[in-house]
């Protein structure tokens, strides 16, 4: 005889069920990335200590996604807001979550300075190579030749530069105690491990942690599921190499 049990969706424990389905579009990478982040938070058992900050742009739709204290801030300003929280409450685990516009355009000065100061926070940038919420404009990460609403004839690196390489930049300006990696929604097990290591780096008080996650925007890319995966796994990884760029050794005695 089997005991009848009500089957529950397997969401990370720290996700807030009452606000599901979450507000992201069908097939949006944010869902997967935040699932990996949720799993990392669960496995480290830190849900009660996390302060989650999100930007404007689609990332703002995660403002009530977790059963964690959360702050939705201004465009590009999530990094300084979370820095402010961490400086005032070093016992909190601060996560600043944003898109590539918030991280590499309007908030780039904050990213550079927080990294240089080795702030003990985790910054996560979801990179979907364009601006989602405002309707698909060119972003700092837009691939050469890619058409967007503000590069309707294709991005021309001659006039608008090449895609920003965020983790490479952060790795160059942080000390050895920083954790820097680039993961992808196409490998959530690896991405979860990266988030765990990044959070552990903050918990250990080592220094700045930074993870870029390759993400998808089927809505603005106008891709079906097959094309979405192809773009994330084949096109984006030509420019954005997945892997760890900086992983500090564990402190003595750990």
């Amino acid at each position: 005889m089997t005991v009848a049990t009500v089957l529950e969706p397997k969401m990370p424990k720290c996700w807030r069920q009452e606000t599901k389905p979450h507000k992201f579009c069908p097939g949006c990478g944010h869902g997967d990335i935040l699932k990996a982040l949720g799993t990392a938070i669960d496995e480290l058992g830190i849900q009660d200590r996390v302060v989650f900050g999100c930007d404007i742009g689609c990332s703002l739709l995660s403002w009530d996604l977790f059963n964690c204290d959360s702050i939705q801030t201004h465009h590009g300003r999530t990094t300084p807001v979370m820095t402010g929280v961490k400086r005032a409450r070093p016992d909190r685990i601060c996560i600043a979550y944003m898109g590539d516009g918030g991280g590499y355009a309007i908030g780039s000065q904050h990213l550079v300075n927080a990294a240089s100061r080795n702030e003990k926070i985790l910054v996560i940038v979801a990179n979907n190579v364009q601006y989602g919420m405002t309707g698909g404009q060119m972003a700092p990460t837009t691939l050469p030749g890619m058409k967007t609403e503000t590069s309707p004839y294709g991005r021309d690196p001659e006039s608008t530069g090449n895609p920003t390489l965020g983790p490479e930049m952060v790795a160059a300006i942080t000390p050895a105690s920083a954790y820097v990696a680039r993961g992808t929604m196409a490998n959530l097990r690896q991405l979860t491990q990266m988030f765990k290591k990044a959070l552990q780096n903050q918990i250990d008080g080592n220094g700045f942690s930074f993870v870029e996650a390759l993400s998808a925007c089927p809505t603005n890319w106008r891709t079906n599921a097959a094309k979405t995966w192809e773009f994330v796994e084949k096109e984006m990884t030509k420019y954005f190499k997945v892997g760890e760029l900086k992983a500090p050794a564990k402190k003595e005695g750990q």
């Binding site: 507000k23 579009c25 739709l61 919420m133």
Partner: protein, 189 residues
């Protein structure tokens, strides 16, 4: 049509209410009328009901873009039925699709008239799901007379002509959808 007609068209994203609003107002503009169309947009729309606010006036410029009460409300999903109650008063004709389940108690009580039409069924069984919104367009122009049938067809031609060129059957299909939409409301007005 009377001097100014106010229409609220509401459905789920993907049902095509915004393109119907666009085609109708473009057609009215072509006829020399003053038309104004505003969608609800941005965050306002994400995960919510998609609403098109349309006003068409015989001659005078249209006033404020949104309005309190509509002359005609077309609601194409259960959420749209509930969301649109606020635009209904004693002068409103309320049109909804009879395939929507579980809204019997939510249909507006004080409307001038409540009309159920089987547009979803008609699209699925007689025509093609793709022309569902053109059936709705037919229903709108027959119940409001904001544009003539000929002008509506011309507007369809302007917008979809390049597709019709490749497949003339599509033109037939769209025209039939328009006519069926008009018939669906005809008997109930």
């Amino acid at each position: 049509m009377s001097k100014l007609v106010k229409i609220a068209l509401a459905g789920e994203g993907g049902q095509g209410v915004q393109s119907v609003a666009e085609i109708i107002t473009e057609a009215a503009n072509e006829e020399g009328k003053e038309a104004l169309y505003i969608p609800n947009f941005g965050v306002e729309q994400r995960g919510g009901v998609s609403i098109a606010f349309v006003q068409i006036s015989e001659k005078e410029k249209v006033g404020s873009p949104k309005f309190e009460k509509a002359d005609i409300v077309i609601a194409l999903s259960d959420r749209a039925v509930r969301r649109c109650a606020q635009y209904v008063d004693g002068n409103t004709v309320f049109v909804y699709d009879t395939a929507i389940e579980g809204v019997e108690d939510d249909l507006p009580k004080g409307a001038k008239k409540v009309i159920g039409i089987p547009a979803i069924e008609t699209a699925k069984n007689e025509l093609h799901p793709r022309v569902f919104n053109i059936i709705i367009m037919g229903a709108v122009i027959r119940s409001t007379h904001v544009v003539s049938e000929d002008q509506a067809k011309k507007a369809l031609e302007d917008r979809l002509g390049y597709k019709f060129e490749q497949d003339p059957k599509l033109r037939e299909l769209n025209y039939r959808a328009l006519e069926r939409g008009m018939q669906l409301v005809e008997s109930q007005l």
